[in-house]
Symmetry: C2
Subunit: 339 residues, 2 copies
């Protein structure tokens, strides 16, 4: 028999010294800055960047700015930061690696597709709770044009978009964890298991990721003994309208009714009818900017006292899709409180 210290149940850690989120930054592109959450974002770019030479460099610059700005907001210096956990969607973590190059901080690169924000926040919190660090930054980014040309087609092709397709968010979010001060804090980490229900359509990632989201939320409830009524908001990463509906229905089959308190970051960030974003937003940057912007700011105002963030990732690549593979999904959950 395993005797766990801080692990409760199969997938969840209960933090003993809940690290506080003392500062966050959300940077978004122009389109995201016209959406329903526009007042929650710290920096809205004019287009997708600030005149950098390529989409990839725009994304790198966004993440670097998000990190730099977050350190500044916390009145800290770069040398105060013990670790940086970061990831993105680009091959070989193009934007995180190059953003990390600009900061003189020990760096762990992560890839969990669009689940990376909760993955980085989980590991950052574990690092803090375990007594290995005083200040850790978690950050992710994505960029619509860089993602389109890497995962689908160059924009110049003018390809038609499926009804179930999602729109990769241009944005980067960063969160800074510390021990001191009066700020929202992380209480639980539920780490995802890869789930694959044989979905093969890369234009319907919401459906591919929904089973992973359901599994992680279900196990979070089971491990913690909590239920939907313990949360003011349960926010999945970027399932979009299609995946959100599936998640709600599947969880009901498992006996949990989350309607009323359930939102999806991909659904929240765009007005899909007016903004023509079909099923909604996606990308590592999606749950990053919604969590760093909307969720964090509403927590700070105590409009939310307990939030469950579940970033969701579709772990496919163009190669695996072309080789006929199905799309495995993963979802990581982080519980944040401010009482």
């Amino acid at each position: 028999m395993n005797t766990k210290n801080k692990k409760i149940g199969k997938q969840t850690i209960k933090l003993e010294n809940p690290p506080k989120i003392i500062a966050t930054t959300s940077i978004v592109g122009a389109k995201e800055g016209e959406g329903p959450l526009k007042n929650y974002f710290d920096i809205i770019l004019k287009d997708q960047g600030n005149g950098e030479k390529s989409f990839e460099q725009e994304e790198t610059q966004m993440m670097y700015e998000a990190i730099k700005e977050t350190i500044k907001k916390a009145n800290l210096k770069e040398s105060d930061i013990d670790y940086l956990f970061a990831g993105d969607l680009l091959n070989q973590l193009g934007s995180s690696s190059f953003a990390a190059r600009e900061v003189n901080v020990p760096f762990f690169g992560l890839f969990g597709a669009c689940s990376t924000m909760a993955e980085s926040l989980s590991l950052a919190a574990i690092m803090m709770d375990g007594g290995f660090a005083n200040h850790v930054i978690a950050s992710t980014s994505s960029h619509f044009c860089a993602a389109e040309r890497q995962f689908r087609f160059p924009l110049e092709y003018g390809s038609q978009r499926a009804e179930t397709a999602q729109w990769t968010v241009t944005g980067s979010g960063a969160m800074l964890l510390a021990h001191e001060g009066d700020f929202p804090y992380i209480t639980h980490i539920t780490t995802g298991i890869v789930k694959d229900y044989d979905m093969t359509d890369p234009n319907n990632m919401g459906a591919a990721m929904a089973p992973a989201a359901v599994d992680t939320i279900y196990n979070h409830f089971k491990d913690t003994g909590r239920s939907p009524k313990d949360y003011d908001i349960i926010a999945t990463g970027d399932l979009g309208k299609v995946g959100k509906k599936l998640t709600e229905e599947l969880l009901l089959e498992y006996g949990y009714d989350i309607k009323g308190i359930y939102q999806d970051c991909g659904d929240l960030i765009f007005d899909s009818e007016k903004q023509n974003t079909n099923s909604g937003g996606s990308g590592c940057g999606c749950s990053a900017v919604v969590a760093s912007g909307y969720l964090y700011k509403e927590l700070k105002k105590r409009n939310f006292k307990r939030v469950l963030l579940i970033s969701t990732g579709a772990l496919m690549s163009p190669t695996t899709s072309l080789q006929g593979e199905s799309i495995p999904g993963i979802a990581h959950a982080v519980a944040i409180e401010y009482k």
Copy 2:
């Protein structure tokens, strides 16, 4: 002022409850199985796989086998494993994500290019030391043919290889950490900072990664108060002959003479003249199989009592290289003892 618990110096953690490496598995391709370390590998494949449909599936299968075999060797069940930390070189962690799909274990995906073995081992050790888990697996893989067609050219082109080029190792290594038993244990983790000295030649990754290796080794000595004489072997990940020479020379300039105890996993794994591998081996699988095979087995025999493993990564992608970017490097170090 920061008051650190377990962190000593800027980049190093001293573990209070050193987790033990209770089992490892190394699986390699046929070419690696003909090299100087052939007697240290657990499984040598006939070619690069076992008849799977694609190079990518061969790599996935190798990692899955390495994980499964390691659990079996330790007389454990999959359900005993708390976390899996894994990564590889393929876009969107193709082989790790699909290997993780086969195991019902909470999964953290990592990308640190060829530094990923030490990255995964670092985070696995931190998870153990912090009291968050009883059994954690760290694993990485790479595959010559899958890497060649993704990073360079399809093999069918028959492109000529530069003298400074390295040969991606086909292999996967896995290590299982636990608290109990009499086994080699991890004492220190030194996490790398991204270093970029404006090298732009993707056929000379050794030179691009050497400054990162030097920086991490130097800071490991500085943080711990140790020196080369405290180690029986210092093994960098995959700098190859070119990077190894540079590292030795640069560290001498910093006042540390590592000659005599310094080896490079990429240099060790092939007989480069006979096997035509130019500067030596590379890839996430390189330091993974050399550490899981050679280093671990020599530790267990107490022929090595203290080992410093420094996996080194070149954080470039074909996109960033084509866009004229230089190649940032990173190196993570893990100190392993058996006294």
